[in-house]
């Protein structure tokens, strides 16, 4: 029905998009894994990061990829401060409160963006926006390849942090047993904030990789956050490798779905998978915990 020449580029396209999805989902799953909350502000934070990259390029002429060393620490600080100053204080340690606080943050951020930047959809032009690289019969846009590689590297680094560093050990300890970790002398509030910061670091990096081939407007995050939730559920809540593989899978499903069913219906496959996973394997395809 479909030529290899058509299907192959579409799958590659999906994988490259999926890697960025995975990176965004990784942030979400990290925050969930430790804080046991669903960060509703994830989409809004991505939007903030995208505006950051946009204005760095427009006002200061900084290329989106060179913006990485600025955006990543900036998003970390924003995340750390949000958790420490707003979420932690406003939630009084109750999970359901945290949920509402993050939802509130997302509403505030999106409407602030609407006031400050209006509802304009903005894009940036770079020399490489439309450059392509031939891979077999496929012509893949250069920014997408960079995004793919960048997302994988960022995910790898994050995994290293969680696996090999003291911070990572503390994060894992807190996620498993908060009281026990506290008794061992771990500053739980600090770990929470570090974790939220790291979650937003993923978004800072994702924004730098996304913008050369994407756009930003105040509502841009909502599209990603739905997909990211699906990936987190698909991969198993809190599972790193699950988020990574789930992201790639969802990217391919979306791309091939778009090819077969038309652009407007392309995302339908994602949500069919979402419902199917919830029905048949609620712990997620790669999730161990029930």
């Amino acid at each position: 029905m479909l030529d290899f020449d058509i299907l192959f580029p579409s799958v590659l396209n999906g994988i490259t998009t999926g890697a960025v999805y995975a990176l965004i989902a990784l942030g979400l799953t990290l925050i969930y894994g430790v804080l046991h909350i669903i960060n509703f502000a994830h989409g809004a934070a991505l939007m903030v990061a995208l505006y950051g990259v946009f204005f760095l390029k427009e006002k200061l002429g900084i290329d989106p990829y060179w913006a990485l060393p600025i955006m990543v620490p900036a998003m970390f600080v924003l995340g750390y401060a949000l958790q420490r100053v707003v979420i932690n204080r406003a939630s009084h340690g109750k999970d359901e409160n945290i949920l509402l606080v993050t939802l509130g943050i997302s509403i505030v951020l999106e409407n602030l963006a609407l006031i400050l930047f209006h509802s304009d959809t903005r894009t940036i032009e770079t020399a490489y926006t439309l450059q392509t690289v031939a891979i077999g019969p496929a012509m893949i846009a250069l920014p997408k390849l960079v995004a793919f590689a960048g997302a994988l590297v960022t995910s790898g680094l994050l995994l290293l942090v969680v696996q090999k560093t003291d911070l990572g050990r503390a994060i894992r300890a807190v996620s498993k047993e908060k009281q026990g970790a506290r008794l061992m002398g771990i500053d739980v509030d600090h770990v929470y904030a570090m974790c939220y910061g790291l979650g937003l670091v993923c978004l800072g990096a994702a924004a730098c990789f996304l913008l050369p081939a994407y756009y930003v407007n105040p509502q841009v995050g909502s599209g990603f956050v739905l997909v990211a939730f699906t990936i987190v559920v698909l991969g198993g809540m809190g599972s790193f490798s699950g988020a990574l593989l789930g992201g790639l899978l969802i990217g391919v499903v979306e791309s091939v779905g778009g090819l077969l069913l038309g652009e407007s219906l392309g995302q339908i496959g994602i949500f069919v998978i979402f419902i199917a996973v919830l029905l048949l394997r609620p712990q997620g395809i790669f999730g161990a915990r029930a």
Binding site: I6, P9, H118, D120, T121, A213, E263, S264, G266
Partner: protein
């Protein structure tokens, strides 16, 4: 009781108007407020801003030339509105403009927005000149306040298909299959539907119709689909950003149909697109709003727009002439009264314009002389190819690589 009260009301109304009229006649307002409503933010921001530019240039010209002469040189004053690229915001702006006491509205570029704003304005009998809004539903609902100077998409689709057939026949009929890519709102969907209906009558096979959202930032899948279906002719009907990206993605993916034949293509006959992407634009044919290239004033207007660092896009001259049409009607109405302006618009014979329409004649709010022209991008410029009366260059069909 009833009849007495009605009698009383009638008498008071008559008395009131008798009292009011001399006042209106004696002291003309120094300025006449006109609503200038466009989507200057959101997905359609570029087009909306171009429209606003055109409308404001017309206002400036009218005021410089002495304002509305029949009203003692009253000046026109713009009340700017932003439809934020969605119909609801457009409607809200009409409410505000009505409150602010505008005499008429010019706007609102996109079909879906015009559909809402004309209806909202109709509640207040507020004259609404539609500058672009090609969907024919806009003028087919019997709204007395609505006037469209330019052609609708039915007219454009008919002209485009008939001319495509002429070009194809002259070239020995190399093209038989067609694919349509359109944006998903009223304008794109309506145009695509009309084309799918018209084309088979001329013996063309419409292989596939693909719609996409606004904004779309990735046309790779659509480009792959086009590659797969491999149509002879690709017809895009979408707004500027998506049109430009689609054509650039095709170039990137090395997809080359025999012709890109646009109907109201958002970027096809745009000096901006031609300047920024000369290779991607080369050879593209478009059936779109276009000025009379033989009229010297169009070249002058283009120069003035370019002197401001802006492109002379169709939005500019469409809104420019729409404002001129309105000013002409206010002058003829000799009044800022909304009903009088509507009546004058209905009887308008406005002919002092740069469009290839001849004297204006409205039937149910549609200017009957309005027509699109066919243009083709060639050597970094846009030339009229059809009809012969306005021809600047011979058409090249099928497109050369």
């Amino acid at each position: 009781m009833h009849s007495t009260r009605r009698h009383f009301m009638g008498q008071s109304a008559a008395a009131a108007s008798a009292l009011a009229f001399p006042l209106v006649g004696g002291a003309q307002p120094a300025t006449i407020k006109i609503g200038v409503l466009h989507p200057v933010t959101g997905a359609l921001a570029y087009s909306g801003q171009q429209c606003r530019l055109g409308a404001l240039m017309a206002l400036e010209d009218i005021n410089k030339a002495g304002g509305i002469k029949s009203l003692g040189g009253a000046k026109l004053e713009a009340l700017l509105g932003d439809a934020q690229s969605n119909p609801q915001a457009g409607t809200a702006e009409i409410e505000k403009m009505n409150e602010a006491g505008v005499s008429a509205v010019v706007g609102a570029f996109a079909s879906a927005i015009c559909l809402a704003t004309t209806q909202a304005a109709a509640k207040y009998n507020l004259p609404h000149v539609v500058d672009v809004g090609v969907a024919d539903q806009i003028v087919e609902r019997g709204l007395k306040n609505t006037f469209r100077f330019g052609p609708g998409y039915k007219k454009c689709a008919e002209v485009a298909v008939a001319n495509l057939h002429v070009l194809n026949t002259a070239a020995g009929k190399p093209a038989r299959t067609v694919m349509i890519v359109h944006e998903e709102s009223l304008f794109g969907t309506g145009t695509a539907n009309l084309l799918s209906r018209e084309l088979p009558g001329y013996g063309y096979d419409v292989k596939e119709v693909i719609k996409h959202a606004n904004p779309t930032r990735d046309f790779n899948n659509i480009a792959l689909r086009i590659k797969q279906v491999n149509p002879d002719i690709l017809i895009p009907a979408n707004y500027y950003n998506e049109y430009a990206l689609l054509v650039r993605t095709l170039q990137q993916q090395k997809v080359t149909p025999k012709a890109i034949f646009s109907v109201l293509g958002g970027a096809a006959s745009s000096y901006k697109f031609v300047k920024e992407f000369p290779d991607a634009a080369n050879g593209i044919i478009d059936c779109n709003h276009w000025f009379n290239p033989k009229d010297k004033r169009s070249a002058e207007l283009r120069k003035r727009v370019e002197a401001q660092g802006q492109f002379f896009s169709y939005e500019v001259f469409m809104s420019y002439t729409a404002m001129k049409l309105l000013a002409d009607a206010i002058d003829r109405a000799k009044s800022t009264d909304r009903a009088a302006i509507i009546e004058a618009l209905g009887k308008s014979t406005f002919s002092d314009h740069i469009m290839p329409y001849g004297p204006t004649q409205f039937v149910n709010g549609q200017n009957m002389g309005a027509q699109p022209l066919m243009t083709q991008v060639s050597k970094g410029d846009i030339k009229v190819i059809i009809p012969r009366d306005y021809r600047e260059a011979e058409p090249v069909f099928p497109m050369k690589a």
